[in-house]
Symmetry: D2
């Protein structure tokens, strides 16, 4: 097993931040696997992601070259590190999150009638690309039921009408709570979530919008793109906020189209984009590569 820990930090920028974090990790004998940091000079903010091995060795023959003596062969003492890091973080006004790869986040997938993103995510999950549990699929339609069954995931049908929206959301929130869901993925879920729902999962609901945001927000973006005569279409994955299609963008991609492409061709081309940008966003979130600030994201690669 190759367990690792990931520490995500954001705080006001100041001198010595890398030195102090890296120094503390070094003192505790960490084998750093990846480290990345970013400064937003304009806003005076500092961001860091550092990942290190927990089980005393890493792939390759590096441990043998370790300078810190026998520490390389022992498991990393995460609790001891956390106890030492907390006061440093407080002193430096850090927001931080420390997680381990052994703990797999619990994810719920929402969809409506289009299943291409859902099928894609489930296949990636089954084949090991997505490091999470998927205990729950929710839909206001029944098209996904067979697919959920094939992958052995609980399916809950929550039909939504204008009259029953509040009730349906209450039921959905109850399901999420009972299943201990930490991330909600809207895989072409065509209902708008209420502000109250969104507020319960800050930076923890990922949506895919079928346009190159901020162009063509709202309904029927492919129709709008066709009407405008654009030469590229796009798709965007983003965290959901109270304002429709306005949350922090995680990933975008585009495909070339031509005058020959009708709306149905745009929709078909777009499906591939939607699959790609949504699955990347989910994977990066699960790999704890994303930090939100303001209305933007830092995505460490």
């Amino acid at each position: 097993m190759n367990d690792s820990a990931v520490l995500l930090i954001d705080c006001p920028d100041r001198k010595g931040l890398v030195a102090r974090v890296a120094g503390l990790l070094y003192e505790h004998g960490a084998n750093i696997l990846h480290a990345d940091q970013h400064q937003d000079h304009e806003m005076g903010l500092f961001f860091m992601r550092v990942e290190w091995a927990l089980n005393g060795h890493r792939s390759g023959g590096i441990a043998a070259q370790g300078a810190a003596g026998s520490a390389g062969a022992e498991p990393f003492d995460l609790e001891r590190f956390q106890a030492a890091f907390a006061p440093l973080a407080a002193e430096l006004n850090m927001r931080w999150k420390l997680t381990t790869s052994a703990r797999r986040p619990r994810v719920a997938l929402f969809c409506s009638q289009y299943l291409h993103c859902m099928a894609d995510l489930l296949h990636r999950w089954r084949s090991g690309e997505l490091h999470c549990e998927i205990p729950l699929i929710v839909s206001n339609h029944r098209e996904v039921e067979n697919l959920a069954g094939f992958y052995g995931v609980r399916f809950e049908h929550t039909p939504v009408t204008a009259a029953t929206r509040a009730e349906a959301e209450a039921r959905q929130l109850d399901l999420l709570a009972r299943e201990g869901i930490e991330l909600v993925v809207l895989a072409r879920y065509m209902q708008i979530l209420s502000p109250g729902f969104v507020a319960r999962y800050p930076a923890a609901i990922i949506n895919v919008h079928h346009s190159f945001l901020p162009a063509f927000t709202g309904a029927r973006p492919y129709h709008a793109a066709h009407a405008r005569g654009v030469k590229l279409i796009g798709a965007t994955s983003h965290y959901v906020t109270e304002i429709l299609d306005d949350g922090p963008i995680i990933e975008q991609d585009v495909a070339r189209i031509s005058h020959r492409d009708q709306v149905e061709d745009l929709i078909a081309r777009g499906r591939d984009l939607e699959r790609l940008v949504l699955s990347r966003a989910v994977r990066w979130h699960l790999d704890r590569r994303i930090l939100c600030y303001g209305n933007k994201t830092v995505v460490f690669d």
Copy 2:
């Protein structure tokens, strides 16, 4: 010399259009080099571009295989064809344009302070990529003067202020008229042309906008893109219409950016996009590959 003729057609769609146009060309012994057509089924429109040799042979050994006998070796009689085609076009309600490669359109380039598009277009012109004459460069600044001199192009300085806009445009229009300009290229010209100016050159003014339209219209699009936190930036070349940044799109392209990129990085990356989408639009226009209809373009490849 390999002269060719290009016929561009658009008309209401109906059966037999290809058969009748191709049939007439065949009767006149045309060696068709390229032919392309497009139907907009939704609007019931038909578009066609056909290019054929004028000088009785084409590159490659094809002529030897010609089935139409000695016609292959004689120059194509364009006047006779045109006389026969006009009544057909009238019958079928065609808008059409017949041009020959021997006639090189006269183009004026406008710019302000940024010269990257200008330098790029001039180099492409000099090296033979753009089949046109460039007798005139106009700018509200003087930065481009040396470059114009190097390429031997007349430079006219037309400073513009709020108070002198009308006067400056009158002078520009006079210059364009005297030089017999058929296409105006706004190579990062940062002044907005008046509706009266635009009306004089319908589908004959090409602009480059430094965003992926319709996102980020208007001023400072890179700043807006940075503020929104997009993951791709774009550039768009389009025909200028009365409404700012709203004309028929000719070409778009995008480049990936990340959280590391500041506004100045976006501006630098964007320059490459601007060069590419503008130069492609100009070349396609000169090669008579573009048909405008509604607020869209057909670009034959």
Copy 3:
């Protein structure tokens, strides 16, 4: 139902080909939906794809504008057209193929242990993107068995060892013959087919190779790409010929990588490319958009 016919032609280039084919279709009252042609001037070859409606009307309100009178409302008489076209084709030395959308080709999918392309193709098929029947899945492993079951496709396990290769291929060929298979798709099938097998399905076996051909032919291309330090990886779909990884290329795509990407990252990124280029190739083949000549393809868009 919107049935259509597609005529694919290739022949020595000569004057009047478009006129004569389009003229014949016009005489028979065809509502042409799409037409495209291509000339290879160097080799003196002509290629054409034309698609027309079979059931007397097409989407949109175009038929009402039809000039050919009542013909627009009647079904197209395909047999009568074919009888008239055959002598023309013979005169002009055409190779040609006339098919209708009502007839769905029968396709077999082959795979080994990696299922991403298989899962992708099956989902696209189920959701209507691929116009074919898929009566058969063949694999030298058993991983795909459940997936085949979910989609209701017959699964046949044909283990292959050096000693049993000939026998396994004989069994596979027998299965293909019994199921009336017209197209074989190698969806990451990791066995090399014998020349005898390949000869049975000329231009009817599509493979995906996990590199940007002709770079990195043969085994372990991602390892080779990593060793060479390339900055983009690619995938290629192509028709299978006797020579490994050398057949006519149908589609290619690439993705950017960096020094941070290890071989396993390349493999993961590559899976998305493989899915895309293989599914596009299969769709284009089924939509009869591809013509092979020499060792190349014409792909009409």
Copy 4:
């Protein structure tokens, strides 16, 4: 002025490298602007690039938040830091290079008859994109002479024939030495440099090859790409080594082509790729973003 220093390091990987380098910089009061590191786990190597301000402040209001007291307002003492860093580097077996933005490397551009890369580089240089001096242009032809004159760069004509190659190279090396050249850029220079020449400028000669390496090495790659029927063409910038087209790849890019594109179209499309990949490579080299190891590059972004 915003002067900065860049430290590039590569060494055997071991624990604590980031901590020790960052710690030393912190002790000396460095305002770090950017820091990036990379580990090649397979080879046990560590790479780092760190950039910090030299003149006591940086853009934005960050300095006011500096924790290290008045150090933020004083110029950074580079010599003192270097004296302290050298023994650390020796202890840790580091190869390292410390440079400042105030010192602009001296670059020579070589070309033959095609001027698109040359014109592009010179314009970028003039407009401030490339932080270097360009005192010398060398060519075996005279086409570039006017362009060199326009940009005020010394032009040297060094014709090369099979018989005079050694002599020409001796003259070129002499010119480079006299001008104190540190980087040679082959902007479509169509002569092969001798091993002796190459050995004089290790990782300091950048070439652009007009294919997606390792496909289509050697002469006439666009012809080879056309013959193979690829669907994308590419260009590659790389450091020159003794083996032709085999040096460490810096950047690659591709463009989509179709069956309609003849060799001359590939050449035209390729020019845009060549400009882009060569100019990026030169800029990254000048910004000291590239580390070579084995036959690969790390390009810090």
